[in-house]
Structures are given as structure tokens and as C-alpha cells.
Amino acid sequence: MSLAAIARWLEQREWAGDFSASQWLYPSVLAIHLTCIAIFGGMILVTNLRLLGFLRSQSLTDVVQKLRFWKRTGFVIMVTCGGLLAGSEAEKYYVNPYFWIKMTLSALIGVHGMVFRNSVYRNTAELDGAQTMPSRAKLAAALSLILWIGVVCAGRMIGYYVGPRSLAAWVKLPYALWR
């Protein structure tokens, strides 16, 4: 089954129609999705800032280990809400390039976690003992920040996609900007 077929199948489910037609449900789930970004995304920001050498009042071990469970919980809620939003309008999302940019960046976040797992995220005791944060930890933090900010921005842009720009629009664009 192709992805397009899955998207069509998803959107034809009864819940999907009810969901995207409801005046309250769609914005509510979106608001929960956004709240998760603030609360649990905030935890990710704090972890990364700590890895970059800021917020030294907390040990890295504390920040990474004590927040791990909550970050995971928040992640599950955030992804569930996101899945509901995308699933209810699957065919619209399927043709939306920003959605695919977001999915690609999300996949890269998964890769990032695996690449830096042993050297950074499971190695906090050693990093806490180090005089300065090793550049590998800083690299992990910088990449994580870029990827997460990219995911959030691409997510917001999904709502602005109106369809492929016609060739004429691209030709007119420099003129419109110049004018």
C-alpha cells in the first residue's frame, strides 16, 4: 500500500471527518500539541543549553536523567496529538511539502539521538566531571536545537501551504518584491 493510499484510507475513516469538522476538537488538540511544545520542548531547550555550558547551577546528570521520563511522556502526548491532526486531514497533509520537511527533520532527530546516545546522553557523569564541555556535547546540543526549531517552524508553515505555485507566480515574484 502506498503512502497516498494510506492517507486516503485514513481520511475516509468516520472519526477523521468528525474530527476535522468539529469546531472545538481540532483547535483543542492543536492547543495541547502547542502546550506540549512549550512545556516539554522547554525541557529539551534546557537540556541543550546545559550541554552548551549554560545553566550550570544544575548538574547535567540531573537535567538529563530527571527530565528523561517527562520528556518521553510529553513526546508521546505531542506525537499522539500531531497524529490526530495529520490523520484527520491526511490527504491534505500528504501533498504538503512542509509536512514532509517536518517528518524528515523528525526522523533526523531520531538519528541524532542514536548517534549521540553513548557519547553524550548516557555519558553525563563523565561530562559533569570535565573542566569544559567537550565539543562533541556542544555539537549534539547545537544540532538538536537546529532540528527542533526546524520542526516547530515547519509545523507552523504546514498551515500556510496553499498549493504549488504556478510558474507565472514565480516569474512575477521578483517583480512584486522589487515593486
Partner: protein
């Protein structure tokens, strides 16, 4: 007439990226500030970092939270200026701004004081954290529901 006098709207019409870009900046910066504040809240509740970490947490996140606020307000004003009537006439927006003002005042008064004092009782800490969480979440919901109302 309005279009001619509203420079922000004019800029946004000429550059279609400006409004979405301002929104993205708004979201990322509120994730920073509200994320930092709720981290303090959670530690007051004993969730995640411990209660005794709260005072150090407030001090070390202070500047980040404040910097976030500056960017939030700036990007928010840019969004607001694109269509002021539409915003201030909306009751959802009025509720959002009321919650925002209350949340900011609460953050720099009671919230801060309780988080910094090591001897505040558990119940008080938890109530303060609860109020803070409710206010900030209301601000986010208000902002989102404004565009759906």
C-alpha cells in the same frame, strides 16, 4: 485607508513570509520562556527536578526567560499590528492578554518569591505552581483559539 497607514500590514502584504516568520519566532520564544517557567513549576511540584532545585533554577533561567519575553512581545506586537481591530475586538484575545498580564505579574512577584524561598511550605509551593501552569497554558490556548474563533 487603513492599508495606506498601516506600515506593518503593508510590509506583510509585500512580503508574504513576514507574518508566518513572526509566528514561528513567537512560538519558539514562548517555548523558551514558558518552558523555563514551567520547569520551575514542575520542580515546585516535585516533578522532574527536586523542590530544592527551584531557587537555583529561577536564578539561572532568569535571563533566558526575560530574553524570551522580549522576543515574544516584539514578535507579538508585529502580529498584532497587522490587524489591530481584529485583535483587540476579539474577546478570546482579551482573555489571552488578561491571562498574560496576570501570568507575568504572578511570575515576577509571588511565583519568584516562593521559588526562591527554601522554607515555603509544600502546599503553598504546589498551589503557586498550579496557578502558574494554569495561567500560562491559558495564554497558549487563548492565542490558538483566537485564530480559530
Amino acid at each position: 485607508m487603513l492599508i495606506q497607514t498601516n506600515v506593518v500590514l503593508q510590509a506583510m502584504i509585500e512580503n508574504q513570509w513576514l507574518f508566518p516568520a513572526a509566528e514561528c519566532v513567537h512560538i519558539v520564544s514562548f517555548a523558551l520562556s514558558i518552558g523555563m517557567i514551567t520547569l520551575v513549576d514542575l520542580s515546585l511540584l516535585g516533578i522532574g527536578l527536586q523542590r530544592k532545585a527551584a531557587s537555583r533554577l529561577v536564578r539561572s533561567t532568569d535571563l533566558w526567560t526575560l530574553s524570551g519575553f522580549v522576543v515574544i512581545v516584539f514578535s507579538g506586537l508585529l502580529l498584532f499590528a497587522s490587524d489591530p481591530d481584529h485583535y483587540y475586538l476579539s474577546s478570546v484575545f482579551q482573555i489571552k492578554i488578561t491571562c498574560l498580564v496576570l501570568a507575568v505579574l504572578f511570575n515576577y512577584t509571588i511565583h519568584r518569591k516562593v521559588a526562591l524561598s527554601a522554607d515555603a511550605s509544600g502546599v503553598v509551593s504546589k498551589m503557586v505552581a498550579g496557578v502558574s501552569l494554569v495561567l500560562w497554558i491559558a495564554v497558549i490556548f487563548g492565542g490558538l483559539f483566537f485564530s480559530f474563533a
